[in-house]
């Protein structure tokens, strides 16, 4: 993973019948090129994934090659939230607050099994995937992922940034799920869907 060359998607996709011209797409390309190669990460490291993240940032794997040498420990100056490690419920509002404090444009990488799905911690204290709190752009699997894995995820995010169009306003919209929407899944159904998965301990949750 990450060792083989990946196909390049370094063009801005646009619909031919749209009114966007050559100048707009070239401008998009320039802006995206600048953004993709100067992503400042906000490290949100809570567990062992943070150790791998530090290894990625250090000299051997050298995150600075991708323009990320500047760790932004303030969310106000960050572009990418890299959530590395498990997030307990007590930390859930903190993580959401940090995400809300980051200015647009912003992206999020969920690093490792715990951040992506709760991992082995299917218990009372741990959030089952940070995508239940904030939107996630790239999931990096692994427990913890090797630095190559994180670099692969970062390259994927860069490709995603490169294919964005400034005319598309939708990608910058921040929305809370609307209960009246067709896409909204009520919490009870989410629980029902999620119940067969998780740990192997067969247990019933007493009501209330």
């Amino acid at each position: 993973m990450g060792l083989t060359a990946r196909p390049e998607h370094r063009t801005v996709a646009y619909e031919p019948q749209s009114q966007e011209g050559w100048v707009t797409t070239r401008l998009d390309f320039l802006v995206n090129w600048g953004r993709a190669n100067s992503l400042w990460p906000m490290p949100f490291g809570t567990a062992c994934c943070a150790i791998e993240f530090m290894a990625t940032a250090a000299a051997r794997f050298d995150l600075a090659r991708f323009g990320m040498e500047r760790m932004s420990f303030s969310p106000r100056q960050a572009d990418v939230l890299i959530c590395a490690g498990r997030v307990p419920f007590k930390l859930a509002p903190v993580l959401r607050r940090i995400w809300q404090q980051m200015p647009q444009p912003k992206w999020c990488i969920s690093m490792g099994a715990c951040a992506s799905s709760g991992g082995m911690f299917d218990n009372y204290a741990v959030v089952q995937g940070i995508d239940t709190i904030i939107p996630v752009d790239v999931y990096v699997p692994g427990c913890p992922p090797r630095p190559e894995g994180l670099l692969y995820g970062i390259r994927m995010l860069q490709d995603k940034v490169m294919s964005e169009r400034s005319a598309d306003r939708k990608i910058r919209e921040e929305m809370n799920p609307d209960p009246k929407s067709q896409l909204y899944i009520p919490p009870s159904v989410i629980d029902e869907l999620g119940e067969p998965f998780g740990n192997s301990v067969n247990q019933t949750r007493s009501a209330q």
């Binding site: 007590k90 959030v127 209330q208």
Partner: protein
Amino acid sequence: MTEKFNTVQTGGALKEVSAPATPRSVAHRGGDANPSVAALEIQFPGSVLRSQVVWGETTVYITPSSVPDVMRWLHDDPDQRYDYLSDLTAVEYRDYEEPLEVVWHLRSLPFRRFLRVKAAIPRGAPLAIPSVWGIWKAADWMERECYDMFGIVFEGHPDLRRILMWEQYREGFPLRKDFPLRGRFSRAEQLRQALAQNIESRYSMEELTIADAFEDLPPDMRKRLSTGERTGE
């Protein structure tokens, strides 16, 4: 920090001073008991229930009501001087007949002794036991954690509230045997309650670091704290 800080020489109260060595070929059961147990049985005849030595470590079982006297004596007596409370926790056994036990790990630095004290709270009785906060200040957070996880009320603790879970946590006490591993509420409800908590409410004047930085706090928070609002509840 007005009190004079007295340094303690480790093993300084021993008669013959020898370098501490790692014990070898320790028996599982039996062996030399900690001499404090014999002294305890003389000093508190009715309070010491039994004692046992496992892997060279002595455990003494006492009655819950005698906890303050026994602990105070173990701390103050010049022949015991248990000046270090290294751990405080509780045990609940799988059998419902077994009582819930509170465990103190005491260490005497001058005598190089280790003593494990246990007190069983009988089934059916309210989960309460005297606090040892007045003897060892280290008991503060440990008793809070024990209360958070087991629901044991430490009587006499100055600020007994949750420490690991947030204060509005309603699902119960997670380390109890009747607590399901995934919690009592559904995942969605857990997340909803967790996200509904106010992060700023974690601040309270009880936190010393906040009290020191009172003048630097934002005006609205200063106003809230100065009205005596006990935040976080």
